[in-house]
Symmetry: C2
Subunit: 182 residues, 2 copies
Amino acid sequence: MQKDTLCLGLLSLGPRSGYEIKQMFEGPLSDFYSLSFGTIYPTLNKLQDEKYVSCKQLSQSKKPDKKVYTITKKGKDLMKDNLLGDASAYIRSGNFGDQIKSEFFLLLLFAKYLPQETLDTVLNERVLFLRQKLEQFKYDGPVPSDLQALRNEKSVAFIRGLATTLIESGLNYMEKNRGKLN
Amino acid sequence: MQKDTLCLGLLSLGPRSGYEIKQMFEGPLSDFYSLSFGTIYPTLNKLQDEKYVSCKQLSQSKKPDKKVYTITKKGKDLMKDNLLGDASAYIRSGNFGDQIKSEFFLLLLFAKYLPQETLDTVLNERVLFLRQKLEQFKYDGPVPSDLQALRNEKSVAFIRGLATTLIESGLNYMEKNRGKLN
DNA sequence: GGGTATCTATATCAGGTTGATATATATAAT
DNA sequence: ATTATATATATCAACCTGATATAGATACCC
């Protein structure tokens, strides 16, 4: 999916600044996708130039100004078109896997070159990290409106359930089988 | 982990050509990490220049020549040093998650903009793909020596078990809950 | 008050990676 | 003979990331 479509998609959930879009990528979306500032800001400028989004400069008390982008009718149309094209391309591509770079799995793979103690720490930290992730996905209390917009999506309920299941079974496996690494 | 260390790590399992390293990234390693030819070939050349690997040009019947790289003592030392540094950096970084770009999850996220039929196809293809992956991870019969070298690693047994568990629980969840997307 | 740290916010850019493309040998199929 | 496919190496434009710069504002501490 191209960055344009992705930014439009996130803006379709409600008006946001570039900084807030980045925050979504660092928060709940981090497990599925991410974009850097160096991609987000130029993309928003381009989308604005081409009238797919409108922009309001907003003064804030206690914080610097921010530029809040709102998706336009033209933007929504482009987003839907692109999404349809992306889905078709995905199906035609024949490649249904995800693109992953996992430092953790590489370290595991070369575990025999690491001191036992280092490997233990790596595993312990990963387990703690996953437990935290699990709590986040399970948490159902109040959240900022950014996240609430995501949470209201029917699809997000499905995704959160899937993530919870995956993390739980992963943790379970690791706790039962980590002895096999020694 | 830098590409140098990764290539050295894979060569530590046995001598290989750049093409064969790429095949590993497209095969069993694809779920954890990948590098492109544009990264692999220059890295091997650099490693050879600096004597971390040696290279033998090999004539093959029925196939073009290939350059087979073998890790040197100097290379193994560098690899172990770097691995140790990477593990420490991983621990110190405080970021224990993986870097993921998932077209599938993005399409799910914006499911409401897709026709039911398209979404169904996306899900069906993903399920078929995961079933295939599962078979691959479970398969225990004879494989080419490249893969056998990987399989003999104690850590790979752990990783294969983990992957199997994750895919199985993911498939299970998707089959039971996909109705929630409608 | 001054120093420092942190958070919000936007922007830019060098450096590195990808995905595409080029080239070449050899087999197999049509 | 032509096309397609697999092996094999190499290069490069286009793109993205991670780092860095800049700046307003709050907060803490001595």
